[in-house]
């Protein structure tokens, strides 16, 4: 197992598997979000089901571990690659055509995703699962809305600034994943001349569908909100 740290391809394998795991999570997550558009009641049932019970907490821990590994390896790769590149930059450096912009900016996009993740955790996790956890360990917190996901969605997406930040964050994630998806299969060696364009297409369609799912939830709730109450930014 040591080779997963020691060899370049081993490190890349960790990157690809943790990345695909996160994509799988994003898929489950968007499916649940879409429920909120069609039935707020059903959505709140899901929130209740995924509160602070052992399986939801275990899931959260595994997910956090996945994010942690992915980020740690992202930085290891970045610093190793920088020293492999050396300190002397080219005076003139043309980007060859057909090189994806995202592929050369994966770390920057990843950091944008982390910032988005922090905002998102503050908007939802800190007001839901965290509150429940604190309550369980005996702290004096108000849990009235801890499982009321729809309430928090409505609150969060009534503010145009937050809506814009979410759309930008989702945009960064889209760029990260349009490269990341096929790149992960390339890294695992499940690619070749024929599958190259197939993976790119599958990735682009899949990732675009997932991201549009998230965008739909943000926009539907924002539009509903401004129609019924007007914009409000009381974070």
């Amino acid at each position: 197992m040591y080779w997963l740290f020691k060899s370049s391809i081993g490190r890349k394998l960790v990157m690809s598997i943790s990345g695909l795991f996160l994509i799988l999570f994003l898929t489950f997550h968007v499916c649940m979000n879409l429920v909120a558009i069609f039935s707020p009641e059903a959505y709140n049932m899901i929130c209740e089901f995924l509160g602070a019970n052992w399986y939801a907490l275990a899931g959260t821990m595994v997910l956090a571990a996945g994010v942690f590994v992915h980020i740690v390896y992202a930085f290891i790769l970045y610093f190793q690659n920088r020293s492999a590149r050396g300190n002397d930059a080219y005076a003139v450096n043309a980007k060859p055509k057909n090189v994806e912009w995202a592929s050369q900016n994966m770390l920057a996009l990843g950091i944008a995703v982390v910032a988005f993740l922090a905002l998102h955790m503050y908007n939802f996790w800190a007001k839901m699962q965290l509150v429940e956890i604190l309550h369980k360990v005996g702290m004096d917190v108000d849990i009235a809305n801890a499982q009321n996901g729809v309430f928090h969605i409505q609150n969060t997406f009534s503010c145009p600034i937050v809506v814009i930040l979410y759309l930008v964050g989702l945009g960064a994630l889209w760029f990260h994943l349009t490269h990341g998806f096929w790149s992960a299969f390339q890294t695992m060696g499940i690619n070749g001349k024929v599958w190259f364009n197939r993976w790119k297409w599958i990735g682009n369609i899949y990732v675009t569908a997932v991201i549009l799912g998230y965008v739909a939830v943000v926009l539907v709730f924002f539009i509903k909100n401004i129609c019924s109450y007007g914009a409000a930014c009381g974070i």
Binding site: S7, S8, G10, N81, A91, P96, Q186, T187, G189
Partner: protein, 251 residues
Amino acid sequence: MEKNININLKVWRQKGPKAKGAFETYKLDGISVDSSFLEMLDILNENLINEGKEPVVFDHDCREGICGMCSLYVNGHPHGPDEDITTCQLHMRKFKDGETITVEPWRSAGFPVIRDLMVDRTAFDKIIQAGGYVSVNTGGIPDANAIPISKIDADEAMDSASCIGCGACVAACKNGSAMLFVSAKVSQLALLPQGRIEAARRAKAMVAKMDELGFGNCTNTAACEQECPKNISISNIARLNREFLKAKLAD
């Protein structure tokens, strides 16, 4: 019909591996557009020698695109702005009258500068020595049809084997990765029955050597494939990943 152009050359000069380098600008007049890029550098060097100055050091050998010795990062591209050719096959007709042409060495920690535009690419030899060969004793020459090989595999092995080891892939890579070169050298043997026998050992040994020599981790940007003078495909990198992971999982 002879056509001449006047150009400005911005050339990287560096006395030695540890010395600090800098660009120097030279003006060259009346360069025939029919001359090759290296012939143009020969003219520059002749001028420099006549002026009693040190000529510009650069690598070259066959001057017909097969040996892999020439390098040069010309106007932001390894092997210059033309496609699918080596620097020695680049011609001055690709440049405009009055143009400033910037010429730099390969810049990568794995390829330290020896002098001016010449870099040390022995790292590639070391990677080949780690496993880029077939060590079984094959005896005399067998009949060509004794070992059937499909046309598809034969063609792909041939395509991989067209890599000349120039190092443009490393020079182009923002991660200083040598994966395109190593994958071509692993693939040319992995695709053929004679090479299969040692395939697992080869993939592990060559990747280990590549990592040890400090080349970077491939993040699949594919700049290498775009700049490779021999059009080596990154599908070879997928094959190398596959060979390496299979070998490691089998251990």
